[in-house]
Structure formats: C-alpha cells, structure tokens
C-alpha cells in the first residue's frame, strides 16, 4: 500500500506504508520545498503534519516519539519536548501554537 498526501489539490504519492515503523516518523520533501512529518501508530493509522517545530524553527518533528493521552495521539518534539496533536496539529502545551496538518490516504 502506498501512502499519499494531499498537496495543492492533488494526491502526492510518498512511500510504501510499511516503510514507517509504528510509533516513529519519517520526513517527506514536498514539491514546494515544505516538509511533512509522517507517522504510523500501533493500529496502523497514518498521520501527516508539518515537519517544522514552531518553537525552534528546525525541521525535526518527524524525529519525535509519538504517544497518546486522553484518547489523542501526539508527537513530542525531539528538541524541547512540546507535544503536538497529530490529528489537529495543535500544540498541547501552548494553546496559541499549531502546525499544519496534511490529509493522507492509502491507495
């Protein structure tokens, strides 16, 4: 199965879903130079958010650990450990911060 990411009204094929280790992420380079962080959780569900950590500016969110709390799946930034909800992109430690979310599908 291929993971595809919605970008510019189009579905962009990225990689085979099996490449993603459950619980970890990988980064993808998008045609406009942006970067997406892709994740797969234990149940096989896929997520994509922007790879840029808004607290440091570094493109590293794909290298954080994912976890769940109160039924929400999140990634903790590997730099300063703020958590981001993988479905909404909202930072769980600071209401005023959020990252973009990219819809994903498999084909």
């Amino acid at each position: 199965m291929k993971l595809e990411l919605s970008h510019d009204d189009d579905w962009l094929p990225i990689c085979d879903t099996t490449v993603l280790t459950p619980g970890r992420g990988m980064a993808a380079l998008l045609p406009d130079g942006r970067q997406a962080a892709l994740f797969r959780d234990r149940s096989g569900r896929l997520y994509a958010i922007d790879n840029r950590d808004p607290f440091t500016g570094a493109q590293v969110l794909s290298r954080g650990l994912i976890g769940s709390a109160n039924g929400r799946t999140f990634v903790a930034s590997p730099l300063l450990k703020q958590r981001f909800d993988l479905e909404t992109g909202r930072c769980l430690d600071d209401d005023e911060v959020a990252v973009a979310v990219y819809p994903v599908r498999t084909s």
Binding site: D53, L65, P78
Partner: protein, 840 residues
C-alpha cells in the same frame, strides 16, 4: 500636564525600584491590560532586572544570577515596558510630577509607584565600614562576599535571625569557621519561641557553627591594613574574624519619599492607605518600603505581592484593598526546617500550648489553640512537614486533636491528615494567596504555576499542591504506568517481558492500555529492556521506543543536525587516530570541539551523512561513545604514575579498563567516571558517579558524585582495594543502581535517597544476598557488548532509516544550513527563524 482636555494623552506610570514586588506589580499591570494603554517606565538601581531575593542563598549552591531572574523572557518588550537598569531615582518633584534619575533623565508621571524595598541595618559601631565588612541583600553583595572569603578563614555574622542564619550558612559553605552573634537570648527571636530556639541552637551548633546569644557587638576591630581582624562583644570578650557580615535587620528605604514631603511613619516606612496610596494620591508605595494601615512594615514577599496587586487594581480602576497580612513563614535554614504561622508566640488571651520536643533529633513543635479548640498558630523546628497542612487550618478546629497533630508518625499518631480534608477556601500558597479551590481547577503543577502563580514564590507549598492534583501524582512513572521505574524493572526481569507493548497492555493504567504510550515511558522501558536483554538497541519494536538521539546514535543539535562523539577510552589517543578525526571533520565540514569529557565532538552532520562518517571512523578503530544514550559516558583519567612525579598507580590503564568494561551499559541516567593517580585528584574523580583515586596500597572507590546543576561530592565507599576487588564493587554498585533508581535519577540523588549506609550494606557487605546475581548481570553485559555503529553499518536494513526524506533518500535537508565562525561552521539560525512563521 496630565489629562489635558481634548488632547489624546497616554498616561505615564513610573515605577521606582525593580525588586521582587516591583516585578510582581508590572505583571499585575500587564494582566489588567494597563500596559497596553499606558507608558510604563521603570527606574532600577541594581545592574540587573528583578531577581528572586528569597532564593538568594541558592547562588552558593550553584544557581547563577540568570537562574534567579524573575522576569519572563521577552516580558519587557512584549508589554512595552521601558526598563532602565543601573539608573536609580534621585529626586521626586511632586508639584511638577516628575522623577529625576541619576543619569539626569527626568520623566513626567501621572502615577508614581515606589517599590524601593529596604536596606540592611548596620549598627553604628566603630569599624563597621572597614575592609571585610559586608551586608547580605543583593547579588552584588554575594559576589563580594564570595571573593573576599577566598582569602579568609574565619567569619562572623552579626544577627541570628532568619537572614543572619542564611548568611552564616553561606559563610560556612564557603569553608569559613563561622560565628553567629545574636543580641536576643535565642536564635530567630521573631519567628520562634524559647523552646524552638533551643532546638534550633542544638542543631545549628551540631553543624559546626559557633553561636553567641545574649551578647551585642560593640566594635569591629581593624588591623593596620584597614581590614577587619575581629569583634569586641558586650560581655567584654573578643572574637577573631577575617570578615564580618551584618544581618541585624532591615529598614525601609523611604528617603526619596521623605525628601519630597510624603508622610512616613515614626519608625520609618512610607505611609499608605488601604489602596496603597501615599499621602499624595498620585503616588503609591508597595513592598518593604511601605507602612501599611495596620501600622506594620512587612519584610516578606507575600504581603508585598498583595500590595502590588492592590496598587495595580487601584490604577486599573478596580476595587481591592490591603489591610494587613499573615506573616507565616517556612524556611530551610542550613538544612533545618523552621516554620512559624499565625499567633506563634501565643499572644492571644487564654490560649493553650500543645508542645512536642525531642532534643535528640532537634525536633520541636508547638501549636497554639484557643479554649474552643481552634488552631491559632504554631512553631515547628526540625520537622516542618505538617506546615503546609496546618497553616491553612489556622482559625478553624482541626479534624483531629492537636496532640495527634504534633506527635511524630508512628508514635500513636493517626494516619496523617491529608490536604483533601481542607476546606476549599483554605489558602495553600501564602506567597500568592491562592486557595485550595483555585488550585484544584488545574490538572498539573506547571499549569497551576502558570495560571495561579502558586508555588512560584518560596516554594514551600509545592508539596501540598502536588497532593491536591489529580494523579499521576501517585508516584507512577507517567500517565501510562502507575508503577515506578524500579517496579517496572522488577516486572520485566521477573516475568521476562520482552516488549513494550506487552508491558503497556498488561501493566499500564487502564486508560493507557492499547494506546501509544508516551515520550516518557517509551525510552525508560527501552532502557530497562536494554539493561536486561543486551540486544542491539535498534531492533524490532525497540526501534520505536528510543529518543531520537538513541535512534540515530548521535546527538540532535538545535538546527536538526547531529553531533558525533567517538569513544576515546580514558582520554588516551594515538596521533594516527587524532589525524583520522581531523581528516573526517575536514572532509565533511564538521565543527570540532574538545569536550569536558576528554574527547572530541564533531558537530553539524546531517542524518544521511552519519553512516558515511562512521564508516571512516569505525575503519580507523573508533567505536560509539554513547554521548546520546543514558549509558556510560567517559572514564576520565589523569596521566598518572607512568609520567607524573606524584602518581602512585597507573591511572590511565585503570580508566581504560573501566571504560571498556562498562561501555554501552544502559542505565536510568548517564554514568560518568574518572581515575586519578594520587590524592591530588587531577581527574576530578570525586565529582563522578563512580570515581577512583590511587593510594599506595591500591584504590579508593568513591560513589554518588555529580557535577551539573546540583553538584555533589562523592562518598568514599571502600579503601585500598585491589584491582579485582575494585571492579567487583563497581559492578555491584552499578547493577544495584540500575535496578533500583528512578527514571533520570543520577547516582547522586539515588545515594541521597536510599542512604549511603544502605548502599554500603548491599554492595560491600551483600546484606541482601544478591551480590552474585548482580555479578552475573554485569558479566552478561560485558560478554554481550557490541559496538552499535559497526553493527549498524553492517546491516542495510538498519541503515535505511538514515535518510533526511523518505521520498527523496539522496536529498540533503535544505533547512540545515551553516554560517562561518572563527574558521569553522555554526548553525544558521536566522535562516530557521525566517522561514514563514517566526519561531517562538
């Protein structure tokens, strides 16, 4: 002119004094939206913005002036506050409504707020200004004391009150023989009663301080060079001292107010009304410089903060008043808990005392109750754990008898009274006047601190706050596991659990079962699995548990690039290997630096470069240095007997042996070690988790040392050991630590927590009979060790993860950029923060 009709006028608020209360006032203005519509100018006498004066003494235990700062980063800019440090106000013209600063600047104000604090009172004795005389109030005072103490051996503190004892503790900590001279018949006369003073005296003397009570200071004696030589006391005796610290009370700084004709109290203090206005309604006074309507000048932060809020309310047009405050305090002086609250001296008519005293342990507790059984106040010395609970109960009838409240646990006392039993309006944090109800609206300590400020003053309420918060405050590792790390270690070992998922689904909290876990427990469990199973840490499910550093076997830096630290056992390295490191760094354009751990760090590698870099290093005989893991870091060495004229053993060989034995060992936190060739200790072994110092007869083993933010000298565990005996003790020490320590607990706090005696019993005397089991675990570790980087390079599947982009494996990450500095590179951070949204 203020409020010229018709013209748009931005009112100006001038704050004089940027101390603890001044800063609280600025925050209160911001919270009330006043900073948005008024110009705020702050004249600050000290060279730095407001800092935590209450925690001043912690400078001597390693907190830097920056750590003590009370101003949130970016605060002044965000709220448009104009702060002028090092520029005190020198005159106020109330008619013209202007303030003039020392720099000559004159500011017109609509509202003026004085928060000038107090100055230390120095009794007018001859010699008081001699070289070697100090006061204890500002960071600058502490810096001066620290510098002077370098050439001093004996110190005397004038004043045995709260601050005097803090100053005495500081002098003692600087290595001086220390005397305390107190005019009253007991220590801390304001806070504690006679019995409490006696308990305090025993404990303080037990710490090696000399206390002289009931005597005054008559003269500071001065030598020919103009420096202090000692003191003459009122009983005719003399005391030799190289330096003197005056801590005989404080006086309100009200001179500015006097000079411009504001009303001041007979014994000082700027008189204010209930809204904190002085005799001129355009001028407010708050904090230690103010004389409140109840006729008191408060020398504590909590009442000062309340005044700050009251003044801010008045300026914002809100109703509130300050009529007086509670002067309860809890302090940790020289490691002794001292607390007093409410009517501590039993001044109310017809009140009764309930006293518990144990002179052997230096514990004294007194509660004052009225005839109806209402708690009025109390004094606690030596054991003040109950303070957080008792203070909020003041004024009400406690749910259990007062006797039960003072008896130590186990002496017929019932189960300790928990904070659940407090009413909702009980004030838990007296520094910021926050009630139990307000605290219970929040879920975590950081949230409580952010939203209510509770716990951000003296900190004495934090324990009770934690008890009030919903669990994970149950001691569990995190929101996923109710067990501690030690419990999990036992479960994994005994039940031979091999995977994180199995552990979570069987032993996790109900609500966490089947979930993803979290960033706290995943690496912890990964470390336990690695300690016990010795597999390659990157395989299978374990790959998903490791922090990014362990995952890529390198340390992530602020711009997303990585650093590389090859192992250099004992710090010994051949010229050939040095050349290889140099060549690799040059060829890949890496920044190089010698670390504090006697090895070389190479910075600035992108993920996809790591394998190529390591291929070169492994080829030259290097191994992973585990700078990324909670694992053994380095065993530092001094040059030792081989070269050094003083050395008595071969410290380099021993350091290399130890480093090779324990390399790769996963632990609750990182492990550091060092070996010195003689007592001169050039390798700093006594600051390490396990340190070894050579003796004529073998080796001395020290454990539980730590540098870092809370330095601790290691304790001597055993003396004059042979090579074999040394290694056996270290094996057992490390394995016992790995088994019983909590997550991220270095050996220093671990030894403090379980006690050195206990460690010695288990490790040296094998009191638990687990010695052989610990030996076996270590043998398995040593036999099973393999270099993680060689293994990674040999396996294409493992190498697959080292790409920047899954959909463009050969593309470098364009966001990792560098700029030159001093002939090398550094991260281009402006580039990172420029991109689209700004970084926060």
């Amino acid at each position: 002119m203020p409020n010229t009709p018709g013209a748009a006028h931005t009112p100006t608020i001038v704050l004089v004094g940027h101390g603890m209360v001044g800063q609280r006032f600025l925050e209160a203005l911001a919270e009330r939206g006043v900073t948005g519509r008024a110009r705020v100018v702050v004249l600050c006498e000290e060279p730095r913005p407001a800092y935590d004066r209450v925690q001043l003494s912690s400078y001597f235990s390693g907190r830097t002036p920056d750590d003590l700062s009370m101003v949130p980063e970016g605060f002044m800019a965000e709220h448009g506050v104009e702060l002028r440090t090092g520029d005190p106000a020198v005159a106020i013209d109330r008619e013209a409504r202007t303030v003039t600063a020392r720099s000559g600047l004159t500011v017109a104000y609509d509202t003026l707020v004085l928060a000038t604090g107090s100055y230390p009172f120095v009794p007018p004795v001859p010699g008081k200004d001699a070289k070697g005389c100090f006061v204890y109030r500002t960071i600058e005072d502490l810096l001066a004391i620290e510098e002077y103490a370098k050439s001093a051996r004996t110190g005397a503190v004038v004043g045995g009150g709260l601050l005097g004892l803090e100053a005495a503790g500081a002098l003692k900590g600087l290595g001086l023989d220390t005397h305390v001279v107190e005019f009253a018949p007991r220590l801390m006369p304001v806070q504690v009663d006679e019995g409490g003073g006696a308990a305090l005296l025993r404990t303080v003397e037990g710490m090696g301080l000399s206390v002289h009570t009931g005597v005054g200071t008559q003269e500071v004696t001065v030598g020919d060079d103009g420096a202090v030589t000692g003191m003459k006391l009122s009983d005719g005796s003399e005391l030799a001292a190289d330096m003197v610290v005056f801590s005989a009370g404080v006086r309100p700084r009200d001179q500015l107010a006097r000079d411009c004709g504001l009303t001041v109290g007979e014994r000082g203090g700027i008189a204010i009304d209930e809204r904190c206005r002085t005799s001129d309604p355009a001028v407010y006074a708050i904090g230690e410089c103010a004389l409140a309507v109840d006729g008191r000048v408060y020398g504590l932060v909590a009442p000062g903060n309340e005044m700050a809020l009251t003044a801010a309310d008045a300026i914002a047009g809100r109703e509130s008043s300050f009529t007086g405050a509670d002067t309860s305090t809890k302090l940790k002086l020289l490691g002794v808990d001292v607390a007093s609250f409410g009517d501590a001296h039993g001044a109310a008519e017809g009140c009764l005392d309930v006293v518990y005293a144990d002179s052997r342990s230096g514990v004294y507790k007194k509660l004052v109750v009225d005839t109806d059984g209402r708690l009025l106040g109390g004094v606690l010395v030596g054991d003040a754990d109950a303070y957080g609970m008792l203070r909020p109960l003041t004024g009400s009838v406690p749910p259990v008898s007062p006797e039960q409240l003072v008896l130590p646990a186990g002496a017929g006392a019932p189960v300790a009274l928990g904070p659940e039993s407090l009413p909702d309006d009980a004030v838990i944090c007296s520094c910021h006047n926050v009630s139990k109800g307000a605290i219970c609206e929040h879920a975590t300590l950081p949230e409580v601190k952010k939203c209510t400020k509770a716990g951000t003053g003296c900190g004495s309420c934090v324990k009770v706050i934690q008890q009030l918060l919903p669990k994970t405050g149950d001691g569990g590792l995190c929101g996923c596991f109710p067990q501690t790390r030690q419990d999990l270690y036992e479960i994994v070992q005994v039940l031979r659990i091999a995977s994180y998922a199995e552990l979570l689904d069987r032993y996790g909290r109900e609500e966490a079962k089947g979930g993803e876990g979290c960033e706290v427990c995943k690496p912890t469990v990964a470390s336990i699995l690695a300690s016990l199973s010795h597999g390659y840490v990157l395989d299978g499910e374990q790959a998903a548990l490791q922090d990014t550093n362990d995952h890529f076997l390198a340390n992530m830096q602020r711009n997303g690039s990585y650093s590389i630290v090859p192992r250099i056992p004992g710090g010994e390295i051949t010229p050939e290997k040095l050349i290889v490191i140099g060549e690799v760094a040059r060829d890949f354009g890496l920044y190089t630096k010698i670390t504090g751990g006697q090895r070389i760090d190479l910075f600035g590698a992108r993920v996809e470069q790591l394998p190529a870099i390591w291929a070169r290093l492994v080829d030259a005989g290097f191994e992973s240095g585990h700078a990324y893991g909670k694992a053994l870091r380095t065993v530092k060495s001094c040059v030792g007997q081989t070269w050094c004229r003083y050395g008595v053993q071969d410290s380099v060989r021993m350091a290399i042996d130890l480093e090779l034995r324990y390399r790769g060992l996963r632990a609750p936190h990182k492990l550091k070690s060092a070996v010195s060739g003689c007592q001169r200790e050039c390798a700093e072994a006594q600051s390490k988790d396990f340190g070894v110092i050579a003796t004529a007869n073998g080796w001395n083993l020290y454990v539980g040392g730590n540098g870092g933010a809370t330095p601790r000298h290691a304790d001597l565990l055993a003396k004059d050991l042979s090579d074999a005996a040394l290694i056996r003790l270290i094996d057992r020490f490390l394995m016992y630590y790995i088994r019983t320590a909590e997550r991220l607990e270095r050996t220093a706090p671990w030894v403090e927590r379980i006690g050195l005696d206990h460690v010695r019993e288990v490790v040296v005397e094998d009191s638990l009979g687990i010695g052989e089991e610990l030996d076996a675990l270590m043998s398995r570790h040593v036999a099973g060790y393999r270099d993680e980087w060689s293994e990674t390079l040999a396996d294409p599947e493992r190498l697959a993860r080292f790409v920047s982009f899954v959909n463009a494996p050969d593309a470098p990450d364009p966001s990792v950029r560098f700029v030159p500095e001093r002939g090398q590179i550094k991260p281009d951070l402006t580039f990172l923060t420029l991109e689209g949204v700004s970084a926060r």
